[in-house]
């Protein structure tokens, strides 16, 4: 009832509510969790209370922060590779139909094959660190490729005619027309790719398991699981989740800043 009444109010109050409501739900959930664990006296190796998880996070920060850095680095490498690879491949497809027809099916095959099934193979043929990055790349590059291709093909027909009329060279058309026109689509693809590279990195770390020398967050989760160190599992999971949120937030912010002056998606509803 309250939320509905507030939704009708001006956007300032509504925006505050959109921020406050999830926080309230989160706090209530944590409180209920804490109470259930304390009242029923559940041991931490079955279900740790939020307070215990938080203390573990502080106590094990040295180990966990290092793992976080490792996973973030892998994610970043995978993301950069996926962005460059996806955009470059889309540009190549755009230049030549022959290349597109020859290669596109394989991009799809790479996308639809579950990466968790590819990871063990990659780990055999590649060094572990490389394999993990390649996994992140495989998962993340397709949305960049697909979105960039869509963007490059959505150029206004009359604008293309205008460029033709004024004798624009192919590089000029690419730089001044196709890339700017495709930018909103590319940024949308990158936003998806950011989250997916984290997933790819985690999947590969899990597949590498304890045998590997790596020490990412996913590796910590697997390791803590074997040792029944459940609070640390939760702490590592919390960090992964936070990392995902930050990645999404940063990419959404970049997208907003780049597009805010002209694209519908970044404009306020009232304007």
């Amino acid at each position: 009832m309250n939320a509905q009444a507030a939704a009708a109010k001006p956007s300032g109050a509504q925006r505050a509510l959109r921020f406050v409501l999830p926080v309230i739900v989160f706090a209530a959930g944590l409180l209920a969790w804490e109470l259930v664990v304390r009242i029923r006296d559940i041991p931490p190796y079955v279900l740790p209370a939020p307070s215990v998880i938080f203390l573990t996070l502080i106590k094990d920060w040295a180990v966990l922060s290092q793992s976080l850095a490792t996973t973030l680095l892998t994610t970043l490498e995978g993301f950069v590779a996926a962005s460059i690879g996806g955009i470059a491949l889309a540009l190549l497809f755009n230049q030549s139909k022959w290349v597109e027809y020859s290669l596109f099916p394989y991009a799809v095959v790479l996308q639809v094959t579950p990466v968790i099934a590819i990871a063990p193979l990659l780990l055999i043929y590649l060094e572990q660190q490389t394999a993990v990055v390649v996994c992140a790349f495989i998962v993340a590059f397709f949305p960049v490729l697909a979105n960039t291709t869509l963007g490059l093909n959505s150029v206004d027909r009359n604008l293309a005619g205008l460029f033709q009329l004024y004798g624009a060279s192919p590089p000029q058309t690419l730089r001044f027309l196709k890339l700017p026109a495709a930018l909103p689509y590319i940024l949308g693809g990158l936003r998806i790719a950011g989250g997916l590279s984290l997933i790819g990195a985690v999947v590969a770390e899990i597949a590498a398991g304890t045998a590997g020398a790596g020490s990412g967050l996913a590796y910590r989760i697997a390791e803590s699981g074997y040792r029944l160190n459940i609070p640390r599992m939760f702490a590592a999971l919390l960090l992964l989740s936070l990392a995902g949120i930050v990645i999404y937030g940063v990419l959404a912010l970049v997208s907003h800043l780049v597009l805010r002056r002209w694209h519908e998606s970044a404009l306020g509803k009232e304007s």
């Binding site: 009359n158 205008l162 004024y166 002056r261 002209w262 694209h263």
Partner: protein, 271 residues
């Protein structure tokens, strides 16, 4: 296809041809005969309207003149400047929609043809600002297209077509989407520009009233495939203004043009 020879230089420059089409036809890939055969000669400095029902090939004729597409048969000749090569082959094109790049400022949009031709930035900027001033938008150089009204966007489009100082201005139903008051004002501004710049204007429209008000010559076209149904001269006291729009001569011309246009619509059951 398109001969780059200058038009016959025997006659004085006033009567020399700016554009000539001889036996021009256009058949689309799907076998539809869109145009012709069409014979049309436009003198330098003339303001001519192509008037006809939707889909009669008026826009196709403009695209052929602009070399945005090639005729299936026949010859398209466009007079060229001797000496200095001009960007856009000395042709300015105003599309049905404003066709502006939404991601950049009004000034950058107007500067585009010069940028593509490699004109130095400072000079291009000056010329873009001058073109914007000529359509009354000097104060909006920094604005983005989405911040402008429909009529202002069309003015920007006109400024962009004028910035290369073309000999020929091709306009494809440029004011069709505007409200009547804005359209009247732009008609008057266009006439004023034409009087001061003395460019050849080929203006496509499906409005009888607009064609009579603006042009020295109204060419009425038949339904698809477009051919010339009638070629009427509109002679009145220049410069034209609102008094012409309300004069008996004006309504008489409109009646004659409407009568010439009637057969083009007679066979159409869908409209």
């Amino acid at each position: 296809m398109v001969a780059s020879k200058p038009s016959p230089g025997v006659e004085a420059s006033l009567t020399a041809l700016a554009v000539s089409l001889r036996g021009v036809t256009k058949v689309y890939d799907n076998g539809v005969m869109a145009l012709g055969p069409l014979d049309l000669a436009v003198r330098k400095g003339e303001f001519i309207s192509l008037l006809g029902p939707s889909g009669c090939g008026k826009s196709t004729a403009l695209r052929l003149i602009a070399e945005l597409s090639a005729p299936s048969s026949g010859i398209v000749r466009v007079a060229r400047h001797e000496g200095v090569p001009q960007p856009g082959h000395g042709i300015g094109f105003v599309f049905q929609e404003p066709t502006l790049m939404p991601w950049t400022s009004v000034r950058e949009n107007v500067r585009l043809p010069l940028k593509l031709a490699g004109v130095p930035k400072a000079e291009a900027r000056t010329r873009a600002d001058a073109a914007l001033a000529s359509v009354g938008l000097a104060d909006f150089a920094e604005a983005f297209p989405r911040e402008l009204s429909g009529g202002m966007k069309m003015r920007v489009s006109l400024a962009r077509a004028l910035v290369t100082d073309p000999d020929i201005l091709l306009m494809d139903e440029p004011f069709a989407a505007l409200d009547e008051i804005t359209r009247f004002r732009l008609n008057n501004d266009l006439l004023a520009l034409w009087r001061s710049l003395r460019k050849t204007v080929i203006f496509v429209t499906h409005s009888v009233f607009e064609s009579v008000y603006l042009s020295q010559r109204v060419v009425v076209m038949t339904a698809r495939p477009g051919r010339i149904q009638a070629d009427l001269r509109i002679e009145t006291v220049e410069p034209r203004g609102e008094e012409f729009r309300t004069s008996a001569a004006y309504s008489d011309y409109c009646r004659r043009v409407s009568a010439a246009l009637a057969p083009s619509y007679s066979g159409q059951s869908t409209l």
